[in-house]
């Protein structure tokens, strides 16, 4: 049973719905790498930690594949966003704010 509908948000950072993802899959973006870059989910502050697996599941379902047949994108550092000032002065830049 599924509770999603066309308004269900898959990517909260970029405000992208399940429907936008399935539309793009039906347009022919059937690998997760191209799909991500065409629709532009997974590029926000959470770095895809919320939505990449959701999108991978939708893609698997829509293309009759299993999750392990879908190549997931490279995880890019940092894990969580860090202020640039931190890399200049160390911790005190963070504390000054």
């Amino acid at each position: 049973m599924t509770r999603e509908d066309e308004k269900t948000i898959a990517c909260r950072c970029e405000d992208i719905s399940v429907q936008e993802i399935t539309d793009a899959i039906h347009e022919g973006y059937v690998d997760l790498q191209s799909l991500k870059r065409y629709v532009k989910f997974g590029l926000g502050p959470c770095q895809g930690k919320t939505c990449i697996l959701l999108a991978a599941q939708i893609l698997a379902r829509e293309t009759n594949r299993t999750l392990d047949q879908i190549m997931t994108p490279t995880a890019r550092p940092p894990v969580d966003p860090v202020p640039l000032g931190f890399f200049v002065k160390g911790r005190e830049a963070d504390d000054e704010k």
């Binding site: 870059r37 590029l43 890019r76 550092p77 640039l84």
Partner: protein
């Protein structure tokens, strides 16, 4: 995929796709583009997305001047928004020697129709209000330089080329190329063999390996260049800022994207490093202190395919008729994409390119006629 095409283009980045599109637009539609991974997965998708004509030699000034004309209309041409924006490039110079050189370069650029000009600190601050004016002596400004969004550009070219009948094949890697005495080729791919009259090598960091399949030794070095993106912010920055090897801009999506050179020549990986972050953060916050509070979101890296004179190799190979090069951009492949597409299409269709680019031919290395370029940044 069919078993034969008139032209096989290796590489699904901006070069390969732009060449395919420009060929098809001219009625030459028997074309396949082969991409080993997904479109834009090589250098195009990793680039800094800047587009500039402020170069230091007449060849690249003219080439990029023409490219900027094309970029300005590319969204309409392709029927897809590639988010080109003439945000301008503001170079910041911090020694009297660099300022003098910049004045000389501005004069040269003006001579070839690129109307850049010098700006003082106050004028620079009007262009970008966030600048720390103590961090430079003078600026160099050209308002027609700009940016475009790499993946949207790839999508725009690919969709337009497909509409015109081009076959674009992803996850299709070239494993060997056989030449025949009749000057045709058999391209062996992971999805089968293709017979063709023309092969275009637009394989970015893979172009040396492709050329070697036909006995051509491209004298390139792969240099790792690292880059980062911040969290998205309201539009605030304005132009692309450049100081020495540091550059950054704010994309239409609001992220500040940019990099700096970490000197990683002859690289064999595109891993991200902490050293890059500290160098970038120090340099970036020196010119715009406010960036210290902006969060870095993501870092990645790609290769500059550096040629001995920092200019690309464009056009046919004398010894292998039908084998064309569009590679070795030394960090400038994205911005050159549209003009390379046009000029290579003109070559492949047997004509003379509408801009003379014979001096970009591979034969220059054997003749010792190297070109010069000093402004090698994003």
């Amino acid at each position: 995929m069919r078993s034969s095409y008139d032209c096989v283009i290796i590489g699904g980045g901006i070069s390969g796709l732009a060449i395919a599109y420009e060929l098809a637009k001219r009625g030459y539609k028997d074309v396949a583009v082969l991409e080993e991974c997904y479109l834009g997965s090589g250098s195009t998708g990793r680039c800094g997305s800047g587009i500039r004509a402020q170069f230091t030699g007449p060849d690249q000034i003219v080439l990029l001047r023409e490219a900027e004309e094309m970029w300005a209309h590319m969204s309409d041409e392709l029927g897809y928004d590639i988010h080109f924006k003439a945000c301008g490039y503001l170079f910041l110079w911090d020694t009297p020697e660099l300022v003098e050189k910049a004045k000389h370069n501005v004069a040269l650029q003006n001579k070839y129709g690129v109307m850049s000009h010098m700006v003082d600190r106050q004028e620079a601050k009007e262009i970008c209000p966030w600048l720390n004016t103590d961090s430079f002596l003078a600026g160099q400004w050209y308002d027609k330089d700009g940016m475009a969004f790499p993946f949207d550009t790839v999508t725009g070219y690919a969709q337009a080329a497909r509409r015109l009948g081009v076959d674009i094949l992803t996850t299709t890697a070239v494993v060997a190329i056989e030449g025949t005495p009749a000057h045709t080729f058999t391209v062996h791919t992971t999805q089968g063999n293709i017979d063709t009259r023309n092969v275009v090598n637009a394989a970015g960091p893979g172009s040396q390996a492709i050329a070697a399949m036909l006995g051509v030794d491209l004298p390139y070095r792969l240099d790792k260049h690292q880059i980062m993106a911040t969290e998205p912010l309201e539009q605030f920055l304005g132009p692309m800022l450049v100081k020495n090897s540091l550059y950054y801009l704010q994309t239409h999506r609001g992220n500040v994207v940019g990099g700096t050179d970490t000197g990683e020549k002859n690289a064999t990986d595109v891993d991200s490093t902490f050293e890059f972050l500290t160098k970038f953060a120090r340099e970036a916050t020196e010119i715009v202190p406010r960036l210290a509070g902006v969060k870095l979101m993501r870092q990645w890296a790609g290769y500059y395919v550096s040629s001995p004179d920092a200019h690309p190799v464009l056009g046919p190979i004398d010894e292998v008729p039908g084998f064309f090069q569009a590679n070795g951009y030394s960090g400038h492949g994205f911005m050159m994409g549209p003009i390379v597409g046009r000029l290579l299409a003109e070559y492949i269709m047997g004509g003379k390119p509408s801009i003379d680019i014979e001096h970009y031919n591979f034969r220059r290395f054997a003749c010792g006629e190297l070109l010069t370029e000093k402004a090698i940044i994003g």
